[in-house]
C-alpha cells in the first residue's frame, strides 16, 4: 500500500495552507495532496467571477504543477476518499486504491444543499461549488435571457450580480426577509437590495420555491406565495453543508461537520480537519459551529499544518468569527463579528448567533448616500463591525476584535475616528 507521512484531502485554502505550514518545517517528509477536481487547486470563492467572465478559468489556479513539484508533493487529481480507517491509518480512494498515512488532514469542504422542492431533482438546475459547476453554468447561459437564483447568500448574490452584468434578466428568491442574512442586518441589507433593485434585479424575499416544472422550453417555478416565475435557467444557492458522507463508517466524531479542537485535531488519533468541513469552537463562546469563510479556512489549515508538523510556534485557534467582504455594483461592504445581536428581532436568525444582552452599538446610517457603519462593543472591546461605503479597514477591525483589545480611554476616539484609531492601535501592536 502506498503511504504518505502527510496525507491531505482537499486542495483549496485549508489544504494548501496546511501544506505550506508543513513544508516550512519538514522539507523531506512525503506529502500526498488529493482533490476531487480534475484541475489544479482553486478557490470556490472565485467561481461566480468565472461564470461572469471576470476571471479567466485558465488563470484562477492557486498553485501550478511546478509549485507542487517544488514542494515535492504527490498531487492526485480527480480522486475522492470513500472511507477512512483510523485504526489502520489508511484511506480508500474512489479509484479503489488504498493509501496509508501517518498524519491525515481532512479538508474536503462543503457540498450544496438542495431544498426540498417538488420536481427540482428531475429538472435541470445549477449549483455553484466546483469549477465544473461554473463551467456548466457559463455554457448554459449562452442564449439564455432569464435566470432564477434561489438563495440570497454570497454565492447567490454574486452570481445574480454577475449574471445581470452580462445582460441576463435575474430574479432572486430568498426565504428570509432580507438578502445576505448571515452577514448584514436589515438596514444593511436594505442598501444592498436597493442597489440590486436599481439594476433591475427582481427579488422575492420571504419566499420559498415550492415547485419547478417545464413549460414551453422554459422552467416554471412556483413560489409558496402562489406566484409563478418563468426562467431559462435555475441556480440553486441555498447554502452548503460539510462534505462528510465518506466518514459514515469512520471512528471520527461528527455533528453537522467534523468536530475539531483548537488545534484542528479530530477525535481520531493522527487525523486533523480544517476549512468548510469542520465544526470548530467559536470566538465569542466555545460552542462548536460551522463558519465556512475563506479566511477561516486559511487560518484553520495553517494551524492544522503546524500541529501536524509539530511547529512550536503554533498558537491555538482563537475561534471562528463570522466575517466577509462584499463588493456589489461598485459598492463596498464588509461585516465582521457580532453585528446583528444588538438589534435582534428584525430577522429570524439570531438563534444561530450568540445572544449577548450587554452589547452596545454605534451606528451611522444614511440611506441617501448609501452609507452605513455599525460598530458593536462589549465591555469596551470591539466585537462587531459592519460597513457599507465607509472608510474602514476590514483587516484592522478584524484584528482589533480578534485581539480583544481593551479600548478603555480610547473608546470615544475609536467611535469618532475608527479608521485612524484602528491604524494607530495596529502600529503600536506591530511595534
Amino acid at each position: 500500500m502506498p503511504s504518505a507521512k502527510y496525507l491531505i484531502i482537499g486542495s483549496s485554502h485549508a489544504g494548501l495552507c496546511a501544506l505550506d505550514a508543513i513544508r516550512l518545517q519538514d522539507t523531506e517528509g512525503s506529502v500526498t495532496l488529493i482533490t476531487r477536481d480534475e484541475s489544479l487547486p482553486y478557490s470556490p470563492t472565485i467561481l461566480p467571477y468565472v461564470v461572469s467572465g471576470d476571471a479567466d478559468p485558465e488563470k484562477i489556479f492557486l498553485r501550478d504543477q511546478k509549485a507542487m513539484d517544488h514542494l515535492n508533493v504527490t498531487f492526485l487529481k480527480g480522486e475522492t476518499v470513500t472511507t477512512v480507517d483510523t485504526k489502520a491509518h489508511s484511506v480508500r480512494l474512489s479509484s479503489g486504491e488504498s493509501l496509508s498515512y501517518e498524519k491525515l488532514l481532512l479538508a474536503t469542504g462543503a457540498t450544496p444543499v438542495l431544498p426540498p422542492v417538488t420536481g427540482l431533482e428531475d429538472e435541470p438546475h445549477h449549483v455553484l461549488r466546483t469549477l465544473d459547476d461554473a463551467m456548466k453554468l457559463r455554457t448554459a447561459l449562452e442564449n439564455k435571457h432569464t435566470a432564477l437564483v434561489v438563495g440570497a447568500g454570497l454565492i447567490g448574490m454574486h452570481a445574480a450580480e454577475n449574471l445581470a452584468k452580462i445582460g441576463v434578466d435575474v430574479t432572486i428568491v430568498e426565504a428570509l426577509p432580507h438578502v445576505l442574512p448571515d452577514y448584514f442586518d436589515e438596514d444593511g441589507a436594505s442598501l444592498i437590495q436597493q442597489a440590486f433593485s436599481d439594476k433591475g434585479i427582481k427579488m422575492h424575499l420571504g419566499c420559498t420555491m415550492k415547485q419547478v416544472a417545464r413549460s414551453n422550453g422554459a422552467q416554471l417555478v412556483t413560489l409558496n406565495s402562489g406566484e409563478t416565475i418563468s426562467s431559462d435557467l435555475v441556480l440553486v444557492a441555498t447554502g452548503v453543508r460539510p462534505s462528510i458522507d465518506y466518514l459514515s463508517e469512520a471512528d471520527i466524531e461528527v455533528d453537522q461537520g467534523i468536530l475539531v479542537d483548537d488545534r484542528m485535531r479530530t477525535s481520531a488519533d493522527g487525523v486533523w480537519a480544517a476549512g468548510d468541513v469542520v465544526q470548530a469552537p467559536g470566538f465569542f463562546d466555545s460552542e462548536k459551529r460551522l463558519n465556512g469563510t475563506l479566511p477561516d479556512a486559511s487560518e484553520q489549515g495553517r494551524i492544522a499544518g503546524m500541529d501536524m508538523v509539530g511547529d512550536s510556534a503554533l498558537k491555538p485557534y482563537k475561534g471562528g468569527i463570522g466575517m466577509n467582504t462584499y463588493k456589489f455594483f461598485g459598492h463596498r461592504a464588509f461585516s465582521i463579528g457580532l453585528i446583528k445581536e444588538a438589534n435582534t428581532g428584525s430577522d429570524g436568525r439570531e438563534e444561530d448567533r450568540v445572544s449577548a444582552p450587554d452589547l452596545e452599538e454605534d451606528r451611522v446610517f444614511s440611506p441617501a448616500s448609501q452609507r452605513y457603519q455599525k460598530l458593536v462593543f462589549q465591555d469596551d472591546r470591539l466585537v462587531g463591525a459592519l460597513s457599507i461605503n465607509t472608510d474602514l479597514d476590514p483587516g484592522v477591525m478584524f484584528e482589533v476584535i480578534r485581539r480583544r483589545i481593551d479600548l478603555k480611554d480610547m473608546k470615544a476616539q475609536f467611535v469618532d475616528h475608527p479608521q485612524e484609531t484602528g491604524r494607530i492601535l495596529m502600529t503600536k501592536v506591530w511595534r
Partner: protein, 451 residues
C-alpha cells in the same frame, strides 16, 4: 534555507505627521498629489502625539496571499514584495480583511485595491521623509548572503540570560568562516563556552585560550608562521575589555604597532563581568561595580573610561571600528572591511556590549539598552580606514537623546546624582566633539584640530 527581504521600517517617535511620504507615493504612482492614491498613510493620535502607519509590511507569511481566491497576490521570491496582479484580481476585497495593518487598501476612485511595491527597491516615501521616520532596511540581506553558512558555534552554550556574546560569536564566526584561528582569552567569551570544558570544545574552528595578557601576541605568532608556509588563515581574537584595554593592552598595542595581521574584536562590557562585575579601565564614570561601589564617600567609578578604539586609531591600525548589535548591518559592513584589512594588518572592532547581569537590567532589554547607548552618542558608531586616514561616523544620530534616557535604563547608574548626570552629559558631548575632529578629510587636518 529561506530568504530575508528588505522592508520599510517606521519610527513613530520621529514622525511629525507632515505627510510628505503620502504625497511622494501618490506622485510616483499616479503623478498626482491626491492622498487617496497613496499606498502609505499616517494617522495621528490626538492624545499622545503618536503616529500610526498604514503600509504593506511585505510580510514573510502574508495572510493576504493566503486568502486571495484569485491568486492575484503572490510573494515574489526574489524581491520579497507582495505583488498584486491587477489582471487576475476580481476585486473581492478579501485581502483587505486579511491585513491587520491596512497595508492593502481600497481606493474608491479606482474602485480597486492598492498596495506598496517598494518602488523597485528605491521607495519614494523613504526619500521624502525628512525626519527619517521611515527607513529602508536591507538588514535581511545579511541573512540572504550569509544565512546558509555554517554556524560554527555549537548550540546549548552557557551564557547568562540576555548576553550578546553568543550573538557575537555566531555572527562573527559564521561570517569569517572555518579557515580561522580563534583566540578567546579568559573572560565572558570562554565563559560562554568557546574553548569548551574538560576535553570537549564548543567551536568548530581551531580555538584556544590565550592568556588574558597575550592574545594579540599569540595570534601574531600563529599568523606569521602560516604566512611563512604560504597558508592564508584568518586570525580572530574575541577579547573582553580586560584582555584588550587593561592587562591585554601591551600585547595589543605591540601587535598593532607591528601591523600584525588579525581581526581583534573587543567585546566591551565595561568591566570584569565574568569574575563578578569588577571595574576595568573601560568602566564609565559613575558606574557601580563591586570594586567601584556606592557608599557615603564614593558613588561609583571616579574616572572616565579609557577610549580604547581611539587609541587604536592612533596606532595606525589598518581598520578600527566601533559596533553595537542593534545595528547589525553596520556590524556586518565593518566585519567585511575588517576581514579585508586583516590581510594587510591589524583590524580592530570594539563592540559595545551591555551586560544584563553585571549592569543590572532586564535581559529582554539588551538590544534596547545598546540602541540607547548609540542614540545618546555615548557610544558613537564609526570606523577608521588607514588608507583614508580619517574617521567616518557610520550611524549619524541627528538628534541625540539625552544621556539620562540611557543611564536611567541601567541599574549600575541608578544612584547617579544630578551633578553626576550633568558631568556625564558634558563628557559625552566633549568626547563626541573630539571624535568629530577626526572626521575631517585630511588626516593631518583632523589630527591638528584634535590636538
Amino acid at each position: 534555507m529561506g530568504k530575508g527581504y528588505p522592508t520599510i521600517a517606521f519610527y513613530p517617535e520621529k514622525c511629525n505627521g507632515c505627510n510628505d511620504c503620502v504625497e511622494a507615493c501618490a506622485q510616483i504612482k499616479t503623478e498626482t498629489s491626491e492622498p487617496v492614491h497613496s499606498r502609505i498613510s499616517v494617522a495621528k493620535d490626538p492624545d499622545d502625539e503618536f503616529y500610526g502607519l498604514s503600509l504593506c509590511r511585505q510580510c514573510g507569511d502574508p495572510r493576504c496571499v493566503m486568502d486571495c481566491p484569485a491568486r492575484a497576490l503572490t510573494k515574489n521570491e526574489d524581491t520579497g514584495v507582495v505583488h498584486w496582479d491587477e489582471t487576475k484580481c476580481v476585486n473581492c476585497q478579501i485581502c483587505t480583511l486579511a491585513c491587520p495593518y491596512a497595508g492593502i487598501t481600497y481606493n474608491r476612485i479606482t474602485d480597486q485595491v492598492m498596495k506598496c511595491d517598494l518602488c523597485n527597491g528605491d521607495p519614494a516615501c523613504v526619500k521624502a521623509c525628512a525626519p527619517m521616520a521611515l527607513e529602508y532596511k536591507i538588514g535581511a540581506e545579511i541573512y540572504n548572503t550569509w544565512g546558509d553558512l555554517e554556524d560554527l558555534f555549537v548550540p546549548g552554550v552557557g551564557a547568562c540570560l540576555g548576553c550578546n556574546s553568543e550573538l557575537i560569536m555566531r555572527h562573527t564566526l559564521r561570517r569569517i568562516g572555518p579557515n580561522t584561528v580563534v583566540a578567546t582569552p579568559p573572560g565572558c567569551i570562554p565563559g560562554v563556552g568557546s574553548v569548551g570544558v574538560n576535553g570537549i570544545t564548543s567551536t568548530k574552528t581551531p580555538v584556544f585560550h590565550p592568556l588574558l595578557t597575550n592574545t594579540a601576541s599569540m595570534l601574531a605568532g600563529v599568523k606569521r608562521y602560516y604566512n611563512r608556509i604560504g597558508r592564508d588563515v584568518t586570525m580572530l581574537a574575541l577579547a573582553g575589555d580586560g584582555g584588550a584595554a587593561d592587562v591585554g593592552f601591551q600585547s595589543l598595542s605591540g601587535a598593532a604597532e607591528r601591523g600584525e595581521q588579525m581581526i581583534f574584536v573587543c567585546v566591551d562590557n565595561e568591566g570584569y563581568m565574568n569574575t563578578g562585575v569588577q571595574r576595568s579601565s573601560t568602566t564609565p564614570y559613575g558606574a557601580w561595580t563591586t570594586t567601584t561601589p556606592v557608599g557615603e564617600a564614593l558613588q561609583g567609578k571616579t574616572r572616565d573610561a579609557k577610549p580604547l578604539p581611539l587609541l587604536m586609531v592612533l596606532h595606525s591600525c589598518e581598520y578600527v571600528a566601533t559596533a553595537a548589535l542593534p545595528f547589525m548591518e553596520d556590524f556586518y559592513m565593518k566585519l567585511d572591511k575588517a576581514i579585508e584589512a586583516s590581510k594587510r594588518g591589524m583590524a580592530f572592532i570594539h563592540i559595545f556590549s551591555p551586560c544584563p547581569t553585571g549592569w543590572r537590567f532586564d535581559p529582554s532589554q539588551l538590544i534596547e539598552v545598546a540602541r540607547k547607548g548609540v542614540e545618546t552618542n555615548m557610544v558613537p558608531l564609526w570606523e577608521y580606514e588607514n588608507d583614508l586616514g580619517r574617521i567616518n561616523i557610520t550611524h549619524v544620530v541627528n538628534e541625540p537623546l539625552p544621556v539620562v534616557t540611557y543611564l536611567k535604563s541601567i541599574g549600575k547608574y541608578r544612584h547617579l546624582s544630578d551633578e553626576q548626570l550633568v558631568y556625564i552629559q558634558r563628557k559625552t558631548d566633549e568626547r563626541f566633539e573630539l571624535l568629530k575632529k577626526f572626521t575631517k578629510e585630511s588626516k593631518l587636518e583632523g589630527l591638528s584640530d584634535a590636538a
